[in-house]
Amino acid sequence: MTVHENKLVSEIESLKAEFIKTTEKLIKDVKRQDKIMARSDKRQQQEYDELQVKFAEVETLQKEIEETQKEVVFTMGAIGESRSKETGLHVKRVAEYSKILALSYGLDEKEAEMLKQASPMHDIGKVAIPDSILNKPEPFNPQDREIMDTHAQLGFDMLKMSNRPLLKMAATVAHEHHEKYNGNGYPQGLKGEEIHIYGRITALADVFDALGSDRVYKKAWNDEKIFKMFKEERGEHFDPKLIDIFFENLDKFLAVRDRMKDI
C-alpha cells in the first residue's frame, strides 16, 4: 500500500529551513552585537585612561601658570618694596590684612586670595620715582610730595595693559590705594563706593601697617592712637563698613601683626 506523502510534511520541512535560517541570522546578530559592545567597552576604557593623563597634564600646566603669576606678582611687589621706605614684612602683612578684610566684607575665598596676592603690588609705581626724592631723609616739600604722589598713577600705567585677572586687580590696587572715602584722596579724587573695593581694602591695610611700624622718619604709633585715628577717619579716609569690620576682627589683625613682626 502506498502511503501518499502528507503535504504537511513538506510544509513543515520548509518552515524548518526558514526557522534554521532565521535563528542562524539571530545568533549571528547577537554575536555581532556582543562584539561591538566588547570593542566599544575596550575603546571607552582606553579613551578614559588617555583623558585622565591629559587632565593631569592640564592640571600641572594650570598650576604652573598660577604659580608663575604669583611669583611674578610677588617679585614685582618686592621690587616696589625695595624702592620704598617701607621695609621688612610690610607688604606681606598688608597682603594678610587685605584678605581678612576681603573675606569679612563678603568677597569669596578665591577673590580674597587673589587680593592677598595682588595687594603687595600697591606701591609698584615707586620704581619710577627718582632716588633723590624716594630716599630723602628730611620731610617732603610740596614739590616732592607731588612727585611722590604720582606713584599711584604710575603703578596703574605699568599694569593696566595686562589682561591677566591678577595683574588687572593689581592695577586697580596700585591706582586706588590712596583714594579716600570722602573724595579727598589721589590721583582721581574718587568718592565712596566709586573707589573699587580692592582700593578701599588695600588703603586701610596699608595705613594700618604703616602707622604701626617704625620708619626712618617716625616712630610707630601705639595702638590706642591708631584706633582713635581709625574711628575719626571712619567715613572720611576709610570706608565705614571696613572700619567696622576692622574693629570686629581686631584679634585677627593683631595676630597677623604678631606673627609677622619685623626683626
Binding site: I36, M37, S40
Partner: protein, 124 residues
C-alpha cells in the same frame, strides 16, 4: 540616478556617492541618531545596485572615530554589499592611520565577519 554628497559635520563624516562606481565615507561618525543619519546613504546604495551600477564599485571608508551604533550600521552596510556581491564586482578599502589601533581592529572584525567580501586594510 544622481550622485549624492553629504558634507562632514563635527559628528558625521563626509559621504560621497558617485554613480561611476565610488562610495566613500571620510571622517568621524558619532551622529545623534545614527540610523536616521545614514538612511539616505543606505537608500542610495540599495537603489544604485538595483539600477545600473558601474562594472566595478570601489568603497573607501576612512573613519577615524566612530560610536558603537555606527559600528552596527557599518555591519548592516556590509550585509547589504554581501547580498549583492554575486552580481557585482565590489572592492572595499578600510583606510586608517597607523596609530589608530581601534580603527585597525574594527577593520579586522569586518574582514572576519565578511569573508566573502573583498575588504583590504589600507594604512594611510
Amino acid at each position: 540616478m544622481e550622485n549624492l554628497t553629504i558634507q562632514a559635520t563635527k559628528y558625521t563624516p563626509e559621504i560621497n556617492l558617485d554613480t561611476f562606481g565610488m562610495i566613500s565615507l571620510t571622517g568621524k561618525s558619532y551622529p545623534e541618531n545614527t540610523f536616521d543619519f545614514y538612511e539616505p546613504m543606505m537608500q542610495w546604495v540599495r537603489e544604485y545596485f538595483a539600477s545600473s551600477p558601474a562594472d566595478e564599485t570601489v568603497v573607501n571608508m576612512e573613519i577615524i572615530y566612530f560610536n558603537s551604533s555606527s559600528s552596527k550600521l557599518f555591519f548592516d552596510f556590509f550585509d547589504l554589499l554581501d547580498e549583492v556581491k554575486e552580481n557585482h564586482r565590489i572592492s572595499i578599502n578600510w583606510i586608517y592611520d597607523e596609530e589608530n589601533e581601534s580603527a585597525e581592529e574594527a577593520g579586522e572584525d569586518f574582514i572576519e565577519d565578511f569573508e566573502n567580501l573583498d575588504i583590504k586594510l589600507v594604512v594611510k
